[in-house]
Symmetry: C2
Subunit: 175 residues, 2 copies
């Protein structure tokens, strides 16, 4: 099953995380590869560090494979560095799909990586189309071809966001 | 902060669950009160049963306070039974907010409970408006007044759903 969470609203990666939790509940194994995030500051990574016991370390992994935001928020890396990271993340996705260890693979912010031309939509589809695992693709402005090929697509549409009123991103909610 | 996840698409409760995970990562305490769900079959409840260790049992709780789907899928309970359950769930929400133990309180499917006239929108607002905790209200067709009063609103819009092609709800993704 190919799932796309897209749109400009809050809730895409968070919904994928929710699917991860449910899948774990149903004894499935979940891998999340993050195409943009790099660091360790996100709540989901902190959650794993804090609470993940040996018994379920092999069942849920989050791999931050990106190099951070591209071209915004003080990004000083060259485009080729970001591109290399995204290409490597895609290779990891391919390997993970072929390995058949995981029941759910979340390719987080991969839509953004495609839009930034770090990777190609058709390369992504080639990799995910024959996947044994369920695949979730997240990120705003999903390529049309992803939406055409997906089984389930939700657009998270922003109706209201406190950023617009000048509030800062909130811990636990936004990251 | 008052957050609403609404719309007809997949991802409302799941996004709230994702926020729960992130909040736990940031050392916050999370309570989810489910206004419609009753049983133990959902992935999130199974997740807690399986993996929650004593060290974080006091940090994350999910309370299924509903009586199951109302008027559909073989529901044989009288309206008053559902109403009593929703009213009790709202009382629990009030108590939990006043107790100030929780940093994030998710009132799951509460929008649906209001639409079914099990509880009143204005009673919900009275309770959440002075909350110390962040509050997330989920469920399709959120009452307009919730959207007006909220700080952050995302509409999860269904673009494509496999139910429409006759597929059954999928474990880990849908529940």
């Amino acid at each position: 099953m190919l799932i796309v969470f897209t749109g400009n609203g809050k809730g895409k990666t968070t919904a994928a995380l929710g699917c991860a939790i449910r899948s774990l509940g149903h004894s499935k194994r979940v891998l999340m590869i993050q195409f943009i995030k790099s660091g360790e500051i996100s709540g989901e990574q902190k959650f794993l560090k804090k609470f993940q016991s040996a018994s379920w370390r092999s069942k849920f992994q989050i791999i931050p494979a990106g190099k951070g935001f591209v071209k915004i928020l003080g990004d000083k890396l060259s485009f080729s560095v970001h591109k290399k990271a995204a290409q490597d993340a895609l290779k990891l996705a391919q390997k993970s799909i072929l390995g058949k260890k995981w029941d759910l693979i979340i390719l987080d912010e991969i839509n953004v990586a495609v839009n930034l031309k770090l990777i190609k939509a058709r390369d992504v589809l080639k990799i995910v189309k024959s996947a044994y695992a369920d695949i979730i693709l997240t990120g705003r402005s999903a390529p049309k071809i992803f939406i055409q090929k997906a089984d389930l697509v939700t657009e998270m549409q922003e109706i209201k966001h406190p950023f617009k009123k000048g509030q800062m991103a909130k811990k636990g909610i936004e990251f």
